[in-house]
Amino acid sequence: MATVSRCTAAVALLMLAFIPAPSRSEVDEVARLQQQLEALQQRLEVLERRLDTERRRSAARPEVPEPRFETERLDEAVTGAERLEEARIGAAPEPPPIRFGGALRFNHSFREDVRDSRTRRGDSGFDLFRLNVDGEIRDIILSAEYRYTPDMDVIRHGWIGYRFGDESMIKLGIHRVPFGLLPFASHNFWDGVPFYAGFSDNHDLGIAYERSDGPWDFHLAFYKNEELGNAGRLARYAPDVVRKDDQQNEDINRFNARVAYTIGRDTGCENEFGISGQRGDLVNAITDSRGSHWAAAGHVDSRCGRWNLQLQGIRYDYDPDNPAGVSNDTIRLGAFGTSFDLAARGKLAAANLAYNFDLTGRWLDQLVCYNNYSRLFKDVGDGQDSELNTVGCGAGAGPLFAYVDLIFARNMLFFGEGSLADGSDDRWRGRLNINLGYYW
């Protein structure tokens, strides 16, 4: 190539040499052509050097083996057999950003200690109508639940949340207090003593931050006051300190913290160990002064295979600043349209065992059977301990879910004259409760 180019240049020069004597303009033209030719020759030399260099490099480079299959991207090689199932039978539509749900429930209860109930072979009735709104638009989350029952209509929860890039979240509004076993400290419909004492599935108004870091879960929360802005209101989903009669206390400025560590997260056997604490003030409307309260809990929530064992211990202390003549040994709580007293200091224990049955049939989707035991050890007065034990099963088929619970209680609220404060006749009482709901 280089040789041919050089020859061409030589011939060109030779031809120029044999041309008759030129005029001035022709001399200029010849000079211009010569310059161009020289420039081309220089360029040719540069290209030749580059070509030599590339050849030497190629010779030094190891041989690259040919790919076995001459495809660029085998992962794009999709045949019919590999087609997504969704493409074949139709993909599920994208869920809307805001979803609505709810429930309609009916209840049947047979109370062996109540003569009327025995005579009527139990009582049936409407239990609840519930509406839920949940959704997320651009990382801002909404969740709310309204409940109507024969005793009350109430907002159970209603909060707005923001999800950060690291999946941590901040919630503002009425939400579940992060304390102890979450989300519930029982499996059954009737719940356990911690719920009636206000230490489980309780919802208050405040701000909370939640974060998961590998096996760790952190909750930090602050609650300004009870969730409905009226401490005298008894229509509540879960018990709160209320102002009623001689007890005029209100739970304010409460801090909550909860830390949990899970061994074996996302495996077939998860074991969560956690501690929780809360501290707040009790403002008294009569004395216009502040008492305080605190609680601490430790829990284990073990989900191994189809078994679930929950253990929880709680220590709590309410120290209200009541006016003279009003006992500081009890604190008044309100919920379900009524009020009741709780021993101001005490310990709570819960032990729940549940088994999720292995179902393969077409009709029944879920069958969970359980025994839930909980007890309140009262540290004040001469109140006898309150106990609640529920054995039962929850079964689900599509939107239907039913609980069948056999409940035994001693010195327990809503069982005879039982109380969480003073105790009663120390007798075990039983109740069969069946609750059937349609959930959507």
Binding site: P67, R68, F69, E70, T71, E72, R73, L74, D75, E76, A77, V78, T79, G80, A81, E82, R83, L84, E85, E86, A87, R88, I89, A103, L182, P183, F184, H187, D201, G268, E270, R303, G305, R306, W307, N308, A354, Y355, N356, D358, L359, T360, G361, R362, D365, Q366, V368, Y370, G394, G396, F401, Y403, G437, Y439
Partner: protein, 355 residues
């Protein structure tokens, strides 16, 4: 001018020198282009327009019923081909017109059993197999039973989020002979039996939807073994992964060439199918994609080392299950719904029951 153009477009001569072939995307269609579409264009002196689609028979049905058929040949999943054929949307194909193997073996004997359909001709076979990472597993599985034995072969498993293949394998793991699998699945007891076996490993299963996800589960070590399409494993091995395939009870499905009824160029379409399913064409296509040709004579022309890694290699077919597309066409909708419900049933006690 307009009249001239219209006349030209409508002239039989113009229409006959183009053929529209519809197939899948990516490297698969590339293997077809290089394997036989470009050679066919050269041999027939026509242009083949290749379109990609996502399967299903809706479009074919629409074209056939309106007599406005724009697709001459379609690479259809066997599952869909059976449905379309029953609906009368496809032209029947005369198997006697297929070219014999180079050694004179008639096409009827050269094609794999079940690959010659009344309305279509099989082309390639893709299989669902068990794959595992040899670097992460102490003892390689020897059978599908080992896949379901999480005590003997510890580690998580990957399975496709579909009843297909999973139910077949569950029965195999429970002792059902491969030839009886669909007969057993045809009964309610059989389906329950399969779900009971799946229940045994449910806590250890990660469910995938696409082949890419399945391979990723293996690559990241999330699972010790997974079901996966065989082609994906080859790809991963080429990228340097030390994956291996367990061919025991591979479940294979094939794609078929079909001709929508009421087409404008049925003879040319049939010519194309004959060309595309010839021994040479299929063997050529296999240079570009690790699927199995449906012709035995094509297999013989493939490099032995590669042949051993194809679903249709004799040693890999020893215990293979032919995915029953007809059965799945009749049962997928029903079982998919049931499968999804089963999948949603948690193994663990739920954190929250309805409240």
């Amino acid at each position: 001018m307009l009249l001239c153009t219209t006349a030209l477009l409508l002239s039989p001569a113009f229409a006959a020198d183009r053929l529209t072939v519809v197939s899948w995307g990516g490297a698969y269609v590339k293997s077809q282009m290089l394997g036989f579409i470009l050679p066919f264009e050269e041999a027939a002196g026509i242009t083949v327009d290749v379109l990609e689609y996502n399967g299903g028979i809706k479009e074919v049905r629409s074209q056939v019923r309106s007599w406005n058929v724009r697709w001459d040949v379609v690479d259809m999943e066997l599952f869909d081909a059976g449905r379309a054929c029953r609906e009368g949307l496809l032209l029947p194909f005369d198997h006697d017109t297929l070219p014999p193997a180079p050694d004179g073996t008639p096409a009827g004997q050269d094609f794999l059993d079940g690959s010659l359909l009344p309305c279509g001709i099989g082309n390639v076979v893709a299989a669902t197999v068990v794959a595992y990472d040899q670097d992460r597993i102490d003892r390689p599985p020897r059978s599908v039973e080992d896949f379901f034995d999480v005590q003997g072969f510890p580690g998580r498993r990957g399975l496709r989020r579909s009843p297909k293949v999973n139910l077949e394998w569950a029965l195999i793991a429970d002792g059902v002979a491969r030839e009886d699998v669909y007969r057993v699945l045809d009964t309610e007891e059989g389906v329950e039996r399969a779900f009971r076996v799946l229940n045994r490993i449910k806590p250890w299963v990660d469910w995938w939807r696409s082949g890419e996800e399945a391979i990723r589960l293996l690559e990241t070590g999330r699972v010790s073994m997974t079901s996966v399409f065989n082609g994906r494993v080859f790809d991963a091995v080429q990228r340097g992964e030390n994956f291996a395939i367990l061919w025991d009870h591979q479940v294979w499905f094939m794609d078929v060439w079909v001709m929508p009824r009421n087409g404008r160029r049925p003879e040319l379409a049939a010519d194309f199918i004959r060309f595309a399913t010839s021994t040479e064409s299929l063997a050529r296509q296999m240079r570009y994609i690790p699927y199995g040709p449906v012709r035995r004579s094509s297999l013989e022309r493939i490099d032995p080392e590669i042949r051993r890694q194809l679903p249709t290699a004799e040693e890999n077919m020893a215990t293979a299950i032919e995915g029953d597309a007809e059965w799945w066409a009749a049962n997928l909708d029903r079982l998919k719904e049931r499968f999804e419900r089963w999948l949603e049933r948690p193994v663990m006690v739920p954190r929250a029951l309805p409240n």
